[in-house]
Amino acid sequence: MTEPRTLAPPERRVARVSGVERLGAYDLITALDRSGPRDPCPGQFYMLAAVDAWGGGVDERPYLPRAFSFARGRVEGDGVALGFLLEAIGPGTERLSVLAPDESLALVGPLGVGFRLPARGTRPLLVGGGIGAAPLLCWQEELGQCTVLLGFRSAAHAQAAALFAGTPRVVTDDGSVGRQALVTELLAKELDEDAHVTVYACGPPAMLEAVRALCAERDVPAQLAMESGMACGFGACFGCVVPTKDGYVRLCVDGPVLDCDLLETAL
């Protein structure tokens, strides 16, 4: 099977911001990419930077671009409208979160390998934690109807659930939306009822590790979209390695989607 990797043009390019949407704690930034490929694979990511005022903030940051899985990629006119879900938590995400329509967004991508199709005889089961819902959005669009389990910190974060088709099942840390529970509790129950699934998960490390352990003990195939600090996104800096059974691998070129089988731990 060929790996789900759409090649990127070998240079940074500029896309025009076409939409900004506030979704509770998150921002959904949409940019019209007219010089990149129109068919990025769900799970792949882009390196993003604002063209103007990137740097010069606190501690003269941000300096490096920031990696984001795309949440939406819809062909629009002569380009593709790429949607990125982000939460302002540092100098890079803060700058990106105040992008305005018609501003310029510098991007490189799509990068890395995306999600592979479900194992034979299984149905897809999508599990997202917080901002990790992002790559599951476009994956759901490609797969069609499928079960989606989402966990968020609070009601403000849970607004991102509205982006999904159908009715994803939502739990929160504070019980403000759905039950007060961890999304992995929903996953455990699903697996107990029907383990003929391929799990696709993205979220914080502790959640991914819980997903990995649940799937490993039941021998359920699972693919994790992981995160690690990156400088470049295309294998140059060797900064984004995670430990695997095969030693360190660079998430940017060998991931960000990794098979659970490859991991001793997702922490």
Binding site: L7, G55, E60, A106, V108, G229, G235, G239, C240
Partner: protein, 298 residues
């Protein structure tokens, strides 16, 4: 066209060793990378005799105007490099410079002999300056140690030998002179400056390797001074680098005495940075007289 140690290059812009993995980049960008290759010669990541995993993560810290890295020279080792990496690097459209590092002079000599014997390799660069690995000895910090290393490896190859200088030396120009007298064909500088970042939550070192190397615009002024100091003391070509992000920056290094320049950290922000810097530098050269500097204190 640029001539460097008798090798003809289509231009004067290289990559800094360890700042671009052409094999991984080809996986991300496909053959378009070869059609629009960003550099005029390609410098490999440093290889060592034995394979190395590199340092435990985290390996990166964004610093003011740059980056601190603690990568730890992960590589496949000499045998793995020759078997799997060299054939792929030989397919690049530009001359290949292989960077080698040994933990002893004999190890360095073995690497130089084995790599220098390969037709695919145009030149070698001796990494005597990586500050990340706990060798207990940084050869490049001391003129006499550098001279001994270069003298030991010089008979092992007739190919041009570039010595990569560390800025973490009391007198980099004295090290450059020692390298020249011991038979080096060129020097390149600067490698990263030693640096550190603390975890804001714990106050402990953030990087898995505890300390790291600072690169990017933050070090450009320091690099420019060292290039000028070295170029003023040696006859052999100087390859200048350290925070170069534009053609104007490259022109400054050329004016300071560099025969060629290298782009490093800027490639992390834009994989085509080398090509852009080369085009901007060519444009400036066409313009003739130097224009006003990009920034002044007035």
């Amino acid at each position: 066209m640029t001539e460097l140690c008798g090798v003809t290059l289509r231009g004067p812009v290289l990559n800094g060793s360890g700042t671009f993995d052409a094999i991984a980049a080809r996986r991300a960008f496909g053959d378009a990378l070869l059609d629009r290759f960003p550099f005029d010669a390609f410098v490999s990541k440093t290889i060592t005799l034995e394979p190395r995993q590199g340092n435990p993560p985290p390996r990166l810290w964004e610093a003011p105007g740059g980056l601190i890295n603690s990568i730890g020279l992960p590589n496949k080792g000499l045998d793995g490099f020759l078997a799997s990496d060299l054939p792929e690097l030989a397919a690049l459209p530009v001359p290949l410079i292989v960077s080698v590092m040994g933990f002893s002079r004999d190890e360095l000599a073995a690497l130089v002999a084995a790599v220098g014997a390969r037709d695919e390799v145009a030149m070698l660069e001796l990494n005597v300056s990586c500050p990340n690995v706990e060798t207990g000895l940084v050869m490049g910090a001391d003129p006499a140690e550098t001279a001994l290393a270069v003298e030991r490896v010089r008979p092992e190859t007739e190919k041009p030998l570039i010595v990569k200088l560390t800025p973490n030396a009391a007198d980099p120009a004295a090290v450059a002179v020692a390298a020249q007298e011991a038979g080096a064909d060129a020097v390149s500088l600067v490698n990263t400056l030693k640096g550190m970042a603390l975890d804001p939550k714990t106050g402990e070192p953030w990087l898995g390797g505890r300390t790291g190397g600072v690169s990017g615009p933050a070090i450009r002024a320091i690099a420019l001074e060292q290039v000028a100091a070295v170029a003023g003391r040696v006859e052999i070509p100087v390859i200048g680098m350290g925070g170069i992000a534009t053609g104007r920056h490259a022109a400054d290094f050329v004016a300071a005495g560099a025969s060629a320049v290298a782009v490093g950290t800027e490639s992390f922000r834009d994989p085509a940075a080398g090509r852009r810097v080369a085009a901007e530098l060519a444009q400036l050269s066409l313009g003739g007289a130097r224009r006003a500097p990009a920034s002044t204190t007035v």
